[in-house]
Symmetry: C2
Subunit: 206 residues, 2 copies
């Protein structure tokens, strides 16, 4: 396998698990939280700051509009920009560096956008019906018995991911034409989806 | 193959060709314009009326709002409803009848929504980068040399398809989570995409 695989995913769709299994199958590195740690290390920002700002775009539209304009003309990033932007820029650079090191799987973090100029990327999106996602999240948080709260968590997490992606990228999170392959993980299950995605990767690499 | 395959597609993505090749591969019927003819026959409406109203939702929002409310309480469809609604209802019924006859491939026409209660459907979406779609449409209309006009045709056709779908369905046209599998046909080409989709169908039917 000689491609960079990026994965966007609905919360509770099993996208992370699918990513891990693909990385294991092809014996390549898998990045999500690890990516953050590395970005933190390389930019000199402490790890805790990254953890609290990951994939969140908390500022108001007007605030971000101002700081956005400001950031583009700035020559020394990671210093005076609002924190979420610093984190984004550090991640963006780190994703590019990681991709230069060779094949890997990267989950979330607008990785497809950061790598949009590379020809060796395959961009995937994993979705699943809401009922199946609720069941998966129930297993993850067994203490939470209130289904409406779980559903709320799912909706809010996806909204946050979409906001983050749509703010930084020129494409739209969760739209079919943003990705090369989108799959409903409930149709073939996690392992079946991993096999189909492997077919896709193998045919692309032939 | 014992499934109903529905295909949504961006204009110029090769979705129709992919649908035809899948139908040929599994030796099942393929429906798009033929579906219209059959709907026309069965509803008693003449063929020309259907051709001119296919996948168009021309009425204003307010006009459709009124006639929509009206249509739900009406006991004798295809008679007093605005024409596009008559066509839609006739197609909706025909799609259901066709699905009952056995495995087939149906392109467009909200077929996934008409069949949403069936468990034997796989709903696909075919997309492709705009540059590749322009090249495909150029081959289809060799007399049209103006690329901006071709691009305009692509944007308008997709807008019309999205309007039609979003008006009648509760899901959103072109969103990954509306479908079971979405594929960028430029990654593997038409034949490669047909093979990957066949893998998906075969794994689902196992």
């Amino acid at each position: 396998m000689n491609s960079i695989i990026t994965i966007g995913r609905q919360f509770g769709s099993g996208g992370r698990e699918i990513g891990e299994k693909i990385a294991a199958k092809y014996n390549v590195k898998f990045y999500d939280k690890d990516l953050l740690k590395r970005a933190a290390k390389e930019s000199g920002l402490c790890h805790e700051i990254f953890e609290n700002n990951d994939e969140k775009n908390n500022g108001s539209f007007l605030y971000n509009l101002v700081t956005d304009t400001y950031s583009f003309g700035y020559t020394s990033p990671y210093v005076e920009l609002p924190l979420s932007h610093k984190v984004f820029l550090a991640q963006f650079d780190t994703i590019k560096k990681i991709a230069e090191e060779g094949p890997c799987v990267i989950v979330g973090r607008c990785a497809d956008y950061a790598l949009s100029e590379r020809k060796d990327c395959l961009n995937l999106f994993i979705n699943a019906p809401i009922e199946d996602r609720i069941e998966r999240i129930k297993l993850k948080f067994p203490a939470e018995k209130d289904v409406s709260k779980i559903k709320d968590m799912i909706v809010k997490t996806d909204k946050s991911r979409a906001n983050y992606y749509n703010y930084y990228s020129i494409k739209k999170w969760g739209r079919a034409d943003t990705y090369d392959l989108c799959i409903n993980s409930s149709i073939l299950g996690i392992d079946g989806s991993v096999e189909l995605i492997s077919d896709f990767i193998d045919r692309f690499n032939r």
